[in-house]
């Protein structure tokens, strides 16, 4: 588990459709490596929601099911526009997130590449479906535009819902920027659909901060698209009656309260978790590692994910002005968790700060659980419920923790 993997090896997407062939929209089926590394990228100035649309335009998606909830409603509606233009085979509005995730499952059972979006309370309403997707080995992608969880009512950015996703058996990736989000969506399909992985993926981003702000994003030509999903590479049978139906078992599991039925269930769950682990090698090849690191030889480190990383970059610049040198670790994949990578990069750190946009500080807990001398980890700063986390707050909290004088806390909150 978690052995070092060479990044030399290129990931192989399904080649059941010939590369270079054109689809009905005139897009050319292109290898994922060529889309990102061997084609011209052009800058655009788009909101995160528009970037989601552009990612789906190039992803050869079969079905997308939508439901309104802030802050993903715009992205979900924009995918509808793609459907109207003929980029997707199926698209409709479901009746609730619980139903939507079921409809997505049905489409994936039938052999489509499936994409949907949700957020906050919607993620929680849908929750029963996520372990079912994983247990059924459906490589559905859900883009989670994180927002607060009720009550009290909040529609603002907050990453608490990601904590609930951690043990669902899904891959969980966390985008820092709209560029990350674009890359993660396309690369996420390819990693999740690898036959030795074949589990669902949650591509998370921080609502509003990423979805509703404009950013410069480098995009490949819209004439290129991913090769479509090949259902016959699935490790489980696709439900289309194109292969012989088999009698699945003599004794349905739930009929028997015996060791064999428990062991069967347990081993199936272990296999799902093993599949998540096996995604590492593909992810490293496409994302260039599960983490990014800057100056990690320093004694003070910030380890973070999502937009908290962007805030930390600026905090590090502010601290540098005062002569305090801080390194940065950006975690890109929360599941699988970059256990070995974080152990390595934090080896020499004396102080580890984990800024987060949620009340629980779950990322700090994840890090504490895997490194030696975990009293080095300072849980915070963290804000919740939509509060912003100005870089000055991160700067001041680090200084305070180090016993240094802080001029003002006026900007806090």
């Amino acid at each position: 588990m978690n052995k070092p993997v060479s990044t030399e090896k290129r990931i192989i997407a399904s080649k059941h459709v010939e590369l270079g062939q054109k689809n009905a929209k005139g897009q050319t089926y292109t290898d994922i490596n060529d889309i990102f590394y061997n084609s011209e990228q052009k800058p655009v100035f788009f909101t995160g929601s528009e970037v989601i649309k552009e990612a789906i335009r190039r992803s050869s998606v079969g079905t997308s099911v939508a439901y309104p909830i802030t802050p993903q409603s715009e992205a979900a509606a924009l995918i509808g526009e793609l459907y109207a233009e003929g980029y997707l085979d199926e698209y409709f509005r479901g009746e609730s997130e619980f139903a939507v995730m079921g409809q997505c499952a049905g489409a994936a059972f039938g052999g489509h590449r499936v994409f949907t979006t949700t957020a906050g309370p919607g993620t929680l309403r849908a929750m029963e479906n996520f372990p079912m997707w994983a247990g059924s080995r459906l490589p559905i992608q859900v883009c989670v535009t994180c927002r607060g969880v009720n009550s009290p009512l909040s529609i603002q950015p907050d990453t608490l819902e990601m904590h609930y996703l951690l043990e669902t058996g899904m891959l969980v990736w966390h985008a820092e920027t709209a560029q990350d989000l674009f890359d993660f969506i396309l690369k996420g399909f390819i990693v999740a659909e690898q036959p030795d992985v074949h589990v669902p993926i949650a591509t998370c981003c921080d609502g509003f901060f990423v979805t509703h702000t404009k950013d410069t994003v480098q995009l490949p030509s819209e004439d290129l698209c991913l090769t479509p999903y090949d259902p016959y590479k699935s490790p489980v049978t696709v439900m289309d009656m194109e292969s012989a139906p088999i009698r699945m078992m003599r004794d349905p599991f739930v009929m028997k309260s015996n060791y064999i039925s428990y062991a069967t269930h347990a081993s199936w769950q272990q296999e799902v978790h093993a599949a998540v682990e096996r995604s590492r090698k593909h992810t490293i090849a496409l994302l260039g590692g599960l983490i990014d690191e800057i100056n990690t030889d320093r004694e003070i480190l910030i380890v973070s994910s999502g937009t908290a990383v962007s805030q930390s970059r600026e905090a590090i610049r502010l601290l540098e002005q005062e002569g305090i040198k801080v390194g940065l670790v950006k975690i890109k994949t929360i599941r699988p968790f970059p256990t070995e990578e974080i152990r390595q990069v934090t080896k020499n750190a004396k102080h580890i700060f984990v800024p987060e946009f949620n009340v629980a500080g779950w990322l700090a807990r994840e890090i504490k659980a895997i490194i030696p001398d975990n009293d080095r980890v300072y849980v915070g700063p963290h804000v919740a419920g939509g509060m912003t986390m100005p870089s000055e707050v991160i700067r001041d909290e680090i200084k305070q923790h180090l016993g240094m004088k802080v001029d003002t806390l006026g900007s806090r909150g």
Partner: protein
Amino acid sequence: MSKEKIQLCDEFADIMPPEYQELVENATYGKQDRGWKDIGSSKELIEQHSLCAGCPESIAFRYILASLPAPEDTVFVGSTGCTSLVFPHVAVQNIHSLFGNQNAIASGLKRTLKARFPDVEKDVVVLAGDGATVDIGLDMTMQSWFRQEKFTTICFDNELYANTGGQESGLMQKGFVAKMAPKGKSFDKVRLAEIAREAGCAYVAMLTVSKPNRVEEAIKNAVYVAREIGPTFVQLYTPCILEIGKQSMEGLDEMKDSETIGGRFVQKEFVTEEAQKLIDSIKAETKVRKKAAKEAAKAAKVG
């Protein structure tokens, strides 16, 4: 599915399980006009069941599987409950995912199969209990009808939660004393057939499984209408003999009693005009075809 896909490879034929060999040699995949009368003379698509002895659900399963117009291109969607104990023994692909979301799954599945196989009619059939259909899943059941999703929903109505031990359900009769209804159920049996009609089902049938020919007709009508027109619904009374205090051999009598005049399950059908036209035309075609086949057989005999 082409029938070739279930042929046995000669080299391995002798080591295949006997029930699979029988399935390949003697099942009715692809047989036109298959029906309940094939039971006994051909290999059934249900190998065995793990329900209680005498459970009417088991005979309902056999009739339904024998009546499907095209099992080689049918996918079932089930839900949690007694039915989920049977599906692993069924030689038609089937999905169990969660409790109550069966019509959501079927919506996504049917649309995908339509997109992936534009030239093949892939039937999707939901089969779930009354708790899944009416209580926990009513939202998704009805929304799939509102959206005019083209698949068949079959509800095994046993008027309670059987698999969890006999709790009150929405389709239970008023006044029935059950677990979670210790003073007797306080409201009427939900009128699901009428709800289905109002929610947009083009064909609705409510009956017991006491008479196989009636079950066959309802299932065939429902599947044909779902292919061409819109959602269809079949509600079958499959009493839980265990939980209503009956013996194994008393299921049939219970169904017959409930379908006599004034009973809860007097057979009823709601059919839209368009659906009726389709059913009539299929019946007429079948009649002509059967007559021609009979005459051809006669001629062959004479010749």
